[in-house]
Amino acid sequence: MSRVELRSVSKRYPKADDLAVKQISFEIPDGELVVILGPSGCGKTTTLRMLAGLEGVTSGEILFDGKPVQDTPPAARNIAMAFENYGLYEQWDVFDNIAYPLRLRSVPDAQIESSVTGIASGLGIADYLGQRPGALSGGVRQRIGLARALVRDPSVFLLDEPMSHVDADGRNDMRLEIRRIHERTGATMVIVTHDQEDALMMADRILIMNEGGIEQYDTPRQIYDAPATAFVAGFVGEPPMNILSVSRSGDSLDGAGFAASIPYGLDAALVPGRQLVAFRPHLTRIVSGPAAGAAGGLVLTGQVYMVEPFGERTIVTVQVGQTRVKVESRAQESYDLDSVVSLLVRTEDLHVFADPAGSGRGERF
């Protein structure tokens, strides 16, 4: 069990112009499960590898239980790591692969037997224990790597995209299992993923990274309900938050091709000039027809652009001026394309972010 702390840690790769990780600082209390979430290239894997000791730290300190470890080799840090690309020993069967770390530490055979079979059944791979990894599917191989990391009793578990090759159903079960293992061992765990559902479901706290820096570090509830930046707002949640670039003029909010009256109660949060107003698709309601504004929220008018049924939910895209707003509902709804509708979002469900760049947040992937 370890408390993990990073102080002003930076990483520059040789011959790179930019820092891959820019002076980040955060602390993980002993026994917490933290998920580092972010898009490709944000520095999350680099951070994990620095925690493991597989990458050197360009500057800053990493401390386990108050002791600096940034110069300690990986083997001496008492960590266990599961890699996205498995790193399995092909010449041994699955049981031996998982047992290896225990054998290295001279754990008695009976205990090895129970630990390995226990972990294997928890992750759904007990049937494969006698086989070689070579012939098994990607999802199974990934789980073997995970089992091998989890079977020990290290200070810190580090998992790098541990479920990226597992299909949707298996993912849900594995998230539950990782949580269970966490609760059972009480170990400090750091998990890297780009899948925000993984983060929301597993984390005690989520560390959101973007372009080498930390956007927000908070509980899943807070990150979802109170995103600190427009990036976090747009990154967490599927479908992503609707983010409108507006400028305040007098009593109305002007956006690209639309205008809306300022809802009562939002006044205090607004600044003069440009800003971003954001709200979640599932908290947006469609009220048919060009209705007059209700006092309790933001009202936008637009035309139905697309209706996408998804089984459990329906996502309606409404063209408001030059922006497209998505509305999510659990009912099986249908609207005529191009019909005029009004959208209502309650004031308490609105978020306002400063827009320093002066232009809307266009996301080009």
Partner: protein, 356 residues
Amino acid sequence: MTAELKVSELSVTYGDVAAVRIDELSLDAGEFGVLLGPSGAGKTSSLKAIAGLLPGAAGAVHLGGRDISRTAPEERDIAMCFESYALYPHLTVRKNLEFPLRAPRRVRELTAQERRRRVDEVADVLGLGQLLERRPAQLSGGQRQRVSLGRALVRRPTLLLLDEPISHLDAKLRNGMRAELKRMQRDMGVTTLFATPDQGEAFALGDRVFVLDAGELRQVGEPTELYLRPSNVRVAELLGAPRINLVDGEVRGQRVTVLGLERPAEGLRDGPVLVGLRPADLTVGGHRELEAAVVAVQPLGNAAIVTVKVSGQTLRVLTQGAFDEWQVGDAVGLGVRSGSLLLFDPVTTMCVKAGI
């Protein structure tokens, strides 16, 4: 030029194992079809067989009325986007995109200038303009995927086969590319078959979904149709997330009993029955018909997946809104939305009744 696809009696065997057996698969000209199936179902084999890349495949493939079953893949005018991208590593992006246009049968169709213009056009649409002189090794996953797509589109094929082209991109990128794909396909009007294991993608993309499982087609139809009226258990399992709950029930006297609930079941004979309950059709909390115990709570932001135990069976529920108030071990009321039960014959796995 776009054409309709008609595949009949397609079979792919590896050694003695029959990997795929599809009786019929048809797409109208310009239609976006989705081949949905879990890993190992035979999606890649099916696509490769249609493309003529598998010598061990048998069956008839008609494109635009022409029988191409015995035509070499070079001549079929089919383009395929491989799951592994299959970019030529020794060529620049530009040369990769140009490669199909320089093939012997096509090289005389266009002048060098026209080729260049075509490549620039495609690169523009896919946002590859800055990357044309790079090699695949210098590209990110998303960029490689776009090059792979560009190479397929640059020659305006009659049929476009996409094998999980966006499965390996990160979540945000994937959603963006999905929308782009749909738009491009609509603009180009090319008949497309898209293979994926992700049911969400099937909903988002498909005009028509072909559900493939263990090498066979289980059902064909619009995604919502397959969701609401699956013809068998497998289709019910493969569409909808989280996965549908399947519990044992009993029909007696034209009524079905499951978990202590009773619903009318007209026209059914007495006997055991498998009941499908979608997590989204279950509700927890408050005063409801059934009493359940909370086993696990997995928060999702705007909802939560709550695993409950009721009458000895474990069920997953997709709640509306967050589920903060309940803890593991709590007793909660469990409700089942009326009209949401799906009944399946436990032996044939066929759906015998829906909507009760």
